[in-house]
Amino acid sequence: MWSTRTIPLSLSFRPCTRLLQHAEHRARGFATATTSSASSPSPSPSELEPNTHYRITLRRSAISLPVRYKGTLVALGLHRRMQTVYHRHTPDIAGKILRVKELVQVENVPASAVRNKTEQRRERKAPRGYAVVGSGLELDL
């Protein structure tokens, strides 16, 4: 840390790939390819892919509801409120969603939008305001 040279993000000429990915994600916006949403003016590549997965988010808890609802949420992989999971379009998942339809929010997304837990955490992280361009140990002598 004492030997690291850091410069502000605006002056860096070699931003790290994670910053680039985050900038791309921000530029794309958070519009998801839902069938019920209005069509956007410019067709982006994500809208041309077929929606193959459910994005399921738990919005209401199953506290004090019968065990069958709690068990359905566990079977879907939902353990806490606001958790998001992705599942393929299959009849058994559709049945589970419909059993807890009062508790969840569902969107149809393409396969490219599927994220596992670590990927969701990485996308939630805020970017650093700087990029490391060099280290004092790497000085050419």
């Binding site: 839902t34 069938t35 339809k101 929010q105």
Partner: protein, 105 residues
């Protein structure tokens, strides 16, 4: 009220539970919002193209804009005059589907 098990008055340190007999406009608006959210969940499952028995039953449920106000804010009961009571008197009513009532009531 007289008897062995009288309610204690609040002024004497007793507890008070008051539930209004009907929903306020805010609660009604929130109930409609929740109905629309469940409609969107059923619509998302329908749009996915998957076929299952529970989807057939879910599509038979009326949508929020198809429901009369009676069904949105009251629920059938056999014990009251008029055979209806406020839907907010049902435990966990914000997390249950209570769209249909027996025909004719």
């Amino acid at each position: 009220m007289l008897g062995a098990f009288r309610q204690t008055q609040v002024s004497l340190g007793g507890l008070l539970w008051k539930t209004p007999w009907k929903l306020s406009p805010t609660r009604k608006a929130n109930a409609r919002k929740r109905l629309k959210r469940v409609d969107s969940v059923i619509e998302a499952v329908r749009a996915s193209g998957v076929e299952c028995a529970s989807l057939v039953k879910a599509l038979e449920l009326p949508k929020e804009h198809e429901m009369p106000a009676r069904d949105k804010y009251t629920v059938f009961t056999r014990h009251a005059r008029g055979y209806r009571k406020g839907i907010h008197k049902v435990p966990k009513w914000t997390r249950l589907t209570l769209r249909t009532n027996p025909t004719g009531f």
